[in-house]
Amino acid sequence: MIRKTLIIIPAYNEEGSIARVVSNIRQQVADADILVVNDGSRDRTARVARESGAMVVSLPYNMGIGSAVQSGFLFAKEKGYHFAVQVDGDGQHPTSEIPRLLAALQNGVEVAIGSRFVQPTKYRPPFLRGLGIKVFSCLVSLIVGKRVYDTTSGFRAISRKGIILLAETYPHDYPEVEALITLHRNGMRFIEIPVEMNYRQEGISSISATAGAYYMLKVSLAVLVAVIKRRK
């Protein structure tokens, strides 16, 4: 049986980097289909992505990262893919590690997370962000009952069972941490695979310093809500 894999790349105004990301994946994961979810970009993201050989689903307006990624899960679910991998469109995720993430999806593991903090890597976050990362790590570890290091990584491979769940329910904004709780609550196992990310040389992070406080509050609340939410 052929195992179908879908690489999901959410992209909002990424015309500068999307072609490289797509072509890297085509070389490194030759047998996977690539889906770029164009999240209402105002630049040429969709065209560039299509020309570089990806399938492109364009959302009619900017829905936010969570809804964009979920569109990808919905696509994977409907088209019967066995595995999905979510990769950022800005090139910071090491696409060469995708096969390792996929290989980890066995023995009942439904999600493999490309993680920056399992082993010491070159990444040194600024103080406040580092603190936030630690807080979430503690919070999630406490709920899940095992150590989770990198809760905010958006570089993940997901099995069919996980795809079906996340197509049904996926957080809207800042989705990564909350999604882990949703997965855990629905009995899905996940593991972390250490990876070295490429850090942005230019451009700004989607989370500015002032938004950081809001981010912390929103995600903490979302996590607590996710804990008490009814199972799907």
């Binding site: 689903v57 364009s58 829905m63 809804s67 569109s71």
Partner: protein, 119 residues
């Protein structure tokens, strides 16, 4: 004993019937969903009860130990709170449906483009 002047009762009565009339008419014209109208009808009925039978307000005042005017405001406030909560619920539901709809539209458009493309 809480007394309300007769003319005031008439005004309250007219107000309630007008409110109920407007709501029924809106439902009839399909501009208001029955589901969301229930809370408004309840509001109208309670105002009516307080108008016709002001002592009900007095009883509540005694229970919560407030001046009856303050009680009136409290009751009104609780109703507004309920209505706002109701709206928020409606918006949340609409948000979810709107999201799913948008995702499906994007997906269907993709399918359509695929079919149109010369193979």
């Amino acid at each position: 004993m809480l007394e309300i002047a007769t003319h005031l009762r008439v005004i309250i009565g007219i107000l309630c019937f007008t409110l109920v009339g407007i709501i029924v008419e809106l439902i009839r014209q399909d501009r208001l969903k029955e589901h969301y109208a229930i809370i408004w009808l309840l509001t109208a009925v309670s105002i009516f009860i307080f108008g016709i039978w002001p002592n009900s307000l007095n009883m509540i005042s005694r229970i919560v130990r407030l001046h009856h005017l303050t009680t009136l405001f409290m009751v009104a406030f609780l109703f507004l709170l309920a209505i706002v909560l109701h709206f928020t619920l409606a918006i949340s539901q609409l948000f979810d449906r709107n999201k799913r709809l948008t995702q499906e539209v994007a997906w269907l458009r993709f399918e359509l483009e695929q079919m149109r493309e010369p193979k």
